[in-house]
């Protein structure tokens, strides 16, 4: 065992190069509060409910109390984990591993140390942070979280709810270890070098089993960062290529929403039934305290009804999105496309629908994703929009789809399709419409635009005008 960097932080260094950092148990107060809350809160809630609503049978009582008990067990388990568990951080064969230990139970996560660009220490924010700073709770005021910033991914939590000073020392030590690892390969000492090394490694070896940031996609025809055309996609019936829609999984969304709505509405119905029964049968003869509690519960219950109504509306909307729009099919005559190239696009919109407005667009869209705290956000912006077709106020009969075929030209100096981890330039065929009595809809279909073929062009050529793309019937 080497000299500890903190009296409470043990470091075990093996002859094989493995290093284990064993953090102590957390300050017990927080865990105790959580355990206490997890046990007492369900008991109190069930007792109040029992006083306020005369349950008709044991099943009704069990139905109401089971979620409360499960919630309490979860909170108490969390408290037990905080109070009795500890964290170990390991470096082994170039892999950084964080292990949460609770007795014989161990839960770990790992990633390559070289993919770590730095370490973050976040102070507790919000309610927990304010509670920690209140002296009455006797919690340490400097509790924090240690996170590892992983290239191309979200920050990974290494140690949660420990004193900041301890985490700072651990972060310094881990940074030192990472630099030692980097020093084994000269000229590579920062984020740029890391990216470059990945590029070199990509050509020379298989990637590590542990998750590394995805390298920029490369197509088979030597076009780095340009996505390949999905040759496994279905062929078209009218034109050569049938396009896949982007970002739409309405069936999955509908299933999830329906299940959640059923559970929610079932719970609310059962609860509401009990309240109605209580109002009808006993409230006039009940003591004043019980009557007050009953009315309190009734008012407390109203937002749950509102939530149920909103869920039902959401289900109906999803049903409409999944089933009501009918099928939209888009096909193109060529893929990949190139700047200045003409191609045919075919759109088939099934009915029955009463359409107020239907537009087919050829769109270039930028997408940028960025980290905001622990969240990732994606912003999109259209930078080119070419109207391929437009039709207003017409009806599509069942079995007779609305079909349209146009010739479109990719703008001459257009940017090619570009896809890397955080940034994208996408070309899309967009079918947007308004249907009588329903909200607007929009379906996007991805097409791939490559740079000009051959591409060795004189630099002295006259620049063409932007937006020279066009549409011909």
């Amino acid at each position: 065992m080497t000299e500890p960097i903190s009296p409470v932080l043990k470091i075990v260094e093996e002859s094989s190069g493995e290093v284990h950092y064993i953090l102590p148990s957390r300050p017990p107060q927080l865990g105790r509060y959580l355990i206490g809350f997890g046990i007492l809160a369900p008991i109190a809630l069930i007792a109040f409910a029992f006083l306020g609503v005369p349950f008709r049978d044991d099943a009704q009582l069990a139905f109401v109390s089971t979620p409360l008990v499960l919630f309490g067990l979860f909170i108490a388990g969390l408290g037990l984990w905080f109070a009795a568990g500890h964290v170990e951080v390991e470096i082994r064969h170039g892999t950084l591993r964080s292990v949460s230990c609770l007795g014989p139970l161990r839960w770990s996560r790992s990633f390559p140390l070289r993919s770590v660009s730095g370490f973050l220490i976040n102070d507790l924010a919000g309610k927990a942070g304010r509670a920690a700073t209140a002296k009455t709770y006797k919690l340490p005021v400097d509790m924090a979280t240690l996170q590892a910033c992983v290239e191309g991914g979200k920050p990974m939590v290494l140690a949660l709810m420990y004193p900041r000073d301890l985490l700072q020392r651990l972060a310094d030590e881990l940074s030192r270890r990472r630099e030692l690892l980097d020093a084994e390969q000269p000229c590579l000492e920062n984020r740029e070098a890391l990216t470059e090394r990945k590029t070199v490694q990509e050509a020379t070896r298989q990637p590590d089993k542990a998750a590394e940031p995805a390298p920029p996609e490369q197509s088979a025809d030597g076009l780095p960062t340009v996505p390949t055309v999905d040759l496994s996609a279905k062929p078209g019936t009218t034109l050569r290529h049938r396009l896949a829609s982007v970002g739409e999984h309405p069936g999955c969304a509908l299933t999830c929403v329906v299940i959640f709505a059923l559970v929610w509405c079932g719970f609310v119905s059962f609860w509401g039934y009990g309240l109605v029964q209580a109002h009808l049968q006993n409230w006039r003869n009940a003591p004043a305290l019980a009557q007050g509690w009953l009315w309190f519960q009734t008012i407390f219950f109203l937002p749950f009804i509102l939530g149920g109504v909103m869920l039902v509306a959401h289900v109906l909307r999803n049903v409409y999105v999944t089933l009501g729009h009918r099928r939209t099919r888009v096909e193109v005559s060529a893929q990949p496309l190139h700047p200045g190239e003409e191609f045919e696009v075919f759109v088939s919109q099934s009915g029955p629908l009463r359409v107020k407005d239907l537009r087919v667009l050829f769109v270039c869209q930028e997408e940028a994703s960025y980290g905001a705290g622990t969240d990732r956000r994606t912003e999109t912006r259209r930078v080119e929009e070419l109207e391929v077709a437009r039709a207003e106020a017409f009806a599509i009969a069942r079995g007779v789809p609305y079909e349209i075929k146009r010739t479109v030209r990719v703008p001459v100096r257009a940017m090619h399709s570009f896809e890397v981890e955080h940034n994208k330039v996408r070309w899309l065929v967009v079918v947007a419409g308004e249907v009588v009595g329903w909200p607007k809809f929009e379906h996007s279909f991805l097409v791939v635009v490559h740079p000009e073929p051959g591409a060795i062009v004189s630099t002295t050529r006259a620049p063409a005008l932007v937006g020279e793309g066009g549409v011909h019937e």
Binding site: P186, T199, V226, E367, V383, R413, F418, V420
Partner: protein, 132 residues
């Protein structure tokens, strides 16, 4: 005595290239003053700028270790690289794609010295925002 520095220039001070063109230029270290360069790295790379997190890719990288050979880094040292077909330089609203030649020298007793020579690859036109 001046601080050590890296100088990099593209032949003919050219700034626009097409895919498949040969990018050529030279670099040298200045004001070394008897210090030794542990390594010099020449990279031709692209990177993104803009709203999203940065992406980066290296098209070509060459590492010179002066200790391994008789290199005179105070003299202009040429480089030649055939440029790829993509990604082309791009000036968008949310993202921009930039290309540059970057020379990084690790000099004993000093922090790394870096010099860049930006250039454009391809002839993609400017964009015009059409819709949010």
């Amino acid at each position: 005595m001046n601080d050590p520095s890296v100088l990099v220039q593209l032949d003919g001070d050219r700034r626009n290239y097409q895919p498949g063109d040969v990018l050529s230029g030279a670099f040298r270290l200045d004001s070394l003053g008897g210090r030794e360069a542990a390594s010099v790295e020449v990279s031709v790379l692209w990177y993104t700028e803009g709203k999203g997190d940065e992406d980066k890719g290296v098209h070509h990288r060459e590492v010179l270790n002066p200790e391994e050979g008789q290199l005179n880094l105070a003299a202009w040292r040429p480089f030649h690289v055939v440029l790829p077909r993509s990604p082309l330089s791009y000036d968008g609203f949310l993202l921009k794609v930039r290309w540059c030649v970057r020379v990084r020298a690790t000099i004993t007793g000093w922090s790394d010295r870096v010099a860049e020579a930006p250039f454009r690859l391809g002839d993609v036109g400017p964009v015009a925002e059409t819709a949010p």
